[in-house]
Amino acid sequence: MTVFFGVFLLTLLLIVAIAMVRTDNLFVAVMLGGIFSLLMATIFFLLDAPDVALTEAAVGAGVSTVLYLAALALTAEREKIHTVHQIKALVVVTTTALLVIFATFDNVQFGDPTAPVHVHVGPWYLENTQRYMDIPNVVTAILGSFRGYDTLGELFVVFTAGIGVLFLLGARPKKDTEAAETLIPQQSETSEGLRNYLIPRLTGRLLVPIILLFGLYVQFHGEYSPGGGFQAGAIIATGIILYALLEGEAAALRVVPQWMLMALMAGGALLYGMVGIVGMLLGGQFLDYSVLADNPVVGQQVGILLIELGVGMTVSGVLLSIFHAFAARDKY
């Protein structure tokens, strides 16, 4: 039966994907992108990957929809129909697809427990996580400790994106350099959010603390259930974005000011790095958490908690900074 669930969802996914490419209304494409992401997340859930599903939902349906919309508000809603290189595109794409499909002709085993993927490195984690760090969520264990260096890299990818967007959008368009001073009152007028809509505002205000609370739960419960720093950061950022949508940019910036966002961004990255360096100073390797406490298992748990906190801080800081950077810009 599960088989058919998968087939059905994949079919819907492909339909949505085609519709996203075909529509000339970018706004519709972005909304279908939300559906795409929910479908993808459900498929991940069916494939036993709840952590990934949570991330995909938080990122795809939440953050990336908001970012796309913010960018659309600054650019154009409609695509001009002008298809370039159609033949070239079809040739390249078909070649790639044939190459990919060619690979399946050699008894690739999916789902087979004896396939090479499932016998070499993967099972080792399942067998040894309990012994080394005694936390139930193996995904968090690998993410935090066994491959903690990857996660450090991931954190810095997000950090780079944040730096990049702040840097790019820090530039003022040339034509209204002199109008820059008048820009500020204009934007506070247009970004007052849904102030006049009573019901969404009431419900929203009720939900903001709940979302934040839920984010904290995901953050600190990541060792026991799906979730962790990245998901938590995205959810917390979504909560504050909701507040900004309801009450306006200015209000959200009063609650979480710009300097605090910068501090979160840099602080999270520093926290992660510090955990690594402290491990080194205490005689271990870089990012070795076993030395953080007398008992190596406790040390691992402390380390994972701290680095997840670092990831959560940076991610929420970066996503909010990016959102504000987009939202604070008036249409040129």
């Binding site: 039966m1 669930f5 059905f8 969802l9 819907l12 339909i15 949505v16 519709a19 209304n25 706004f27 519709v28 909304m31 279908l32 939300g34 559906i35 929910l38 479908l39 997340a41 459900t42 859930f45 069916l46 709840p50 599903a53 949570l54 939902a57 938080a58 349906a61 939440g62 929809t65 908001v66 919309l69 659309l72 508000a73 809603e77 247009t190 970004s191 959010g193 849904l194 969404p200 929203g204 939900l207 709940i210 979302i211 839920f214 739960y217 995901v218 419960h221 259930s225 799906p226 979730g227 998901q231 959810i235 979504t238 909560g239 974005i241 909701l242 949508l245 309801l246 249409k331």
Partner: protein
């Protein structure tokens, strides 16, 4: 019995998708997206029980919350759009 619910919900997801693809107005599409979101939450709940992993309800909770933010973001977008260019949002898709 869970299967019946899953199938019904899947069918509804398909119908919501039809509405999202047909439009005709953007509001219809927003409606479809919202509907799709709630249906996904239901499917997740049922599948969590079907697979015997009720601890994964966190996911459904996250979906319920995030979907709302997405829909509200769309509405705020409409509102700013309407203020800037009053003619544009009126048109059909």
């Amino acid at each position: 019995m869970y299967y019946v619910v899953v199938i019904a919900t899947f069918a509804t997801m398909g119908l919501a998708l039809v509405r999202a693809l047909l439009g005709p107005s953007v509001y219809d599409r927003v409606l479809a997206v919202n509907m799709f979101g709630t249906k996904t939450v239901l499917v997740l709940i049922v599948i969590a029980f079907l697979y015997g992993r009720p601890d994964f309800l966190d996911l459904a909770m996250a979906y319920a919350l995030i979907n709302f933010v997405g829909v509200l973001a769309v509405l705020v977008f409409f509102r700013t759009r309407a203020q800037r260019e009053p003619t544009e949002t009126k048109g059909k898709d």
